[in-house]
């Protein structure tokens, strides 16, 4: 089944066409990578899917629900989680609290539950915290759970962001350049984690990435954008050999390129 269907998705910023008539689908359980040179419109696609930017034309559907125009918090409730290219953690909050924000859409306690400290409220809060610790442990981050998130090293901040997105219990996880700024060792660990997200946690993943080694290694399929237009689609081997892709990148090949 296709979790995500994108049909003729278009975004204009004033006179500039950032994304033009994009078509692609993401099947349940697969890892699809969205690649392309800088400025190709990849993050704009994410922003349209998650309600951060409006859609000029075309449609995006998550299962059967139209995503166009939905506010971000509703998109999350449907089952799409995301991370950001420039890490957007809640800087003054602890790691644990950051992850707990992710549980927000899956819990219900309101103001009065908080004030009266109902048994339901306490239980919900405690369960959320326990689950947050579990998720952090899965990524080896439970040791830093009380650290203020903006004080963490970059690599760990990336990890926290992914855990936070996981806390929203998504079916489809949108990762925006998760390897950006990571060194080789960290990237290896990231690749393992992403693979486990699919195999153990049964998540479907849509990934924007510049690190070709990682993309070729973990993706099932790849969609290539250039200047907002899809120029190629297929498995890693096909894409590697595609002359239009090579031309668009002008020889980036397997070298890691930074955003």
């Amino acid at each position: 089944m296709n979790l995500l269907t994108v049909e003729k998705l278009t975004k204009h910023f004033g006179g500039l066409a950032a994304v033009q008539e994009l078509d692609f689908t993401v099947a349940e359980g697969e890892i699809l990578a969205l690649i392309g040179p800088n400025g190709a419109g990849k993050t704009t696609v994410f922003n349209m899917l998650t309600g951060l930017t409006g859609v000029t034309a075309g449609e995006a559907r998550f299962k059967d629900t139209r995503l166009n125009g939905l506010p971000s918090y509703q998109v999350v409730e449907l089952g799409l989680g995301r991370t950001f290219q420039n890490i957007r953690l809640f800087g003054k909050m602890s790691v644990l609290s950051n992850v707990m924000v992710g549980f927000h859409c899956r819990t219900r306690t309101g103001l009065f539950g908080a004030l009266l400290q109902t048994p339901r409220a306490s239980r919900e809060f405690r369960q959320a915290r326990e689950r947050a610790v579990e998720l952090l442990a899965m990524f080896g981050l439970e040791g830093v759970r009380d650290e203020i998130s903006r004080n963490l090293p970059y690599g760990q901040q990336r990890g926290v962001e992914i855990v936070r997105a996981l806390a929203t219990d998504p079916q489809l996880l949108l990762l925006d350049e998760p390897a950006a700024g990571l060194n080789i060792a960290e990237t290896e660990v990231l690749m393992e984690h992403i693979a486990r997200l699919r195999s153990d946690l049964k998540k479907t993943i849509l990934l924007i990435e510049h690190d070709m080694k990682m993309v070729m290694n973990i993706s099932d399929r790849i969609v290539v954008l250039d200047y907002g237009v899809k120029i190629a689609e297929g498995g890693p081997e096909t894409i590697k050999a595609d002359p239009r892709v090579i031309e668009a990148y002008l020889g980036t090949g397997f070298r890691k390129s930074h955003a």
């Binding site: 309600g51 957007r88 800087g91 609290s97 707990m100 924000v101 859409c105 309101g110 539950g113 908080a114």
Partner: protein
Amino acid sequence: MRLRWMVWIVAAAVLLGLPRMVTDDYWMHMIIMTGMWMILAVSMDLIYGYGGQLNLGHASFAAIGAYFTALLMLRLNLSYWVAMPLSGLGAAVISLLVGVPTMRLKGLYLGLATLGFGEIVRLTLLMWYPMTRGPMGLPGIPAPTIGSFVIESKTAFYYIILALLLITIYATRRVVNSRMGIALMAIRDDEVAARAMGVHSSWYKVEVFMVGTFFAGIAGSFYAVYVSFISPDSFKMMDSFMIFSMPILGGLGTLVGPLIGALILYVLPEATRVFAQYRMLWVGMLLVVTMVTQPLGILGGFEALAGRFRRSKPTLQPE
């Protein structure tokens, strides 16, 4: 941990026994008023320190609470114990007039809008003569009664404000250490990311405003019966600025910071009474000097507090 218990017990004893220890009426008045300012400072910290919403018109909600109480008691003969919560609710409902239209405003622009609102409230109170008697204000607000017992002594008022302050602190703490608190802090740190994580930010911004202004209304309500006279000048723009400064001076986003800020900004100028005229001079200098040397406030704000008390449970972490 035993040390902690002892500290709490001593503090409780001091707070409960205070009226016995302080015989000077003037100082009791100081303490009572400090209690009121503390309620305003804590509720301000909830809105700004935790919610990230800049509110430069907080004093006007105290004014609204004061007028609600005065009018309910004078015109409808309601008991103070009924008028007070109604006043808090009144302030909270009126805060919707600010909170809802300004949902899209951030930072200083939100601050200016709240500043404008605060002044319009004051001018309305000043000019709505039939209701508020304008600049003449409302005198003769009756004292609270419990049955036939009339509350008049400073001691009695002290216990009332102490109770109100403790309730305010408790409620704020409950909100902060809850799902709502997490949502608020997320909105404060990065509203877009918060929405991307499923937080319905617009609703929470309105909600935190309502909760904070509810307590401001309660504080104003207390003021009305304590001083038994209010006028549009009882709560001015400069008061809003002072209230705003208190949590920043003491440490934003800590529960203790606003208390310290209120203590310093209110008690200090009074304590240096020798230089009666000069005390606001010192307040001005104090604000500048503190901001220039300790921009995160005396407690160093958020992070420093979390770091300092890491061994015992940090106040702000979910318990």
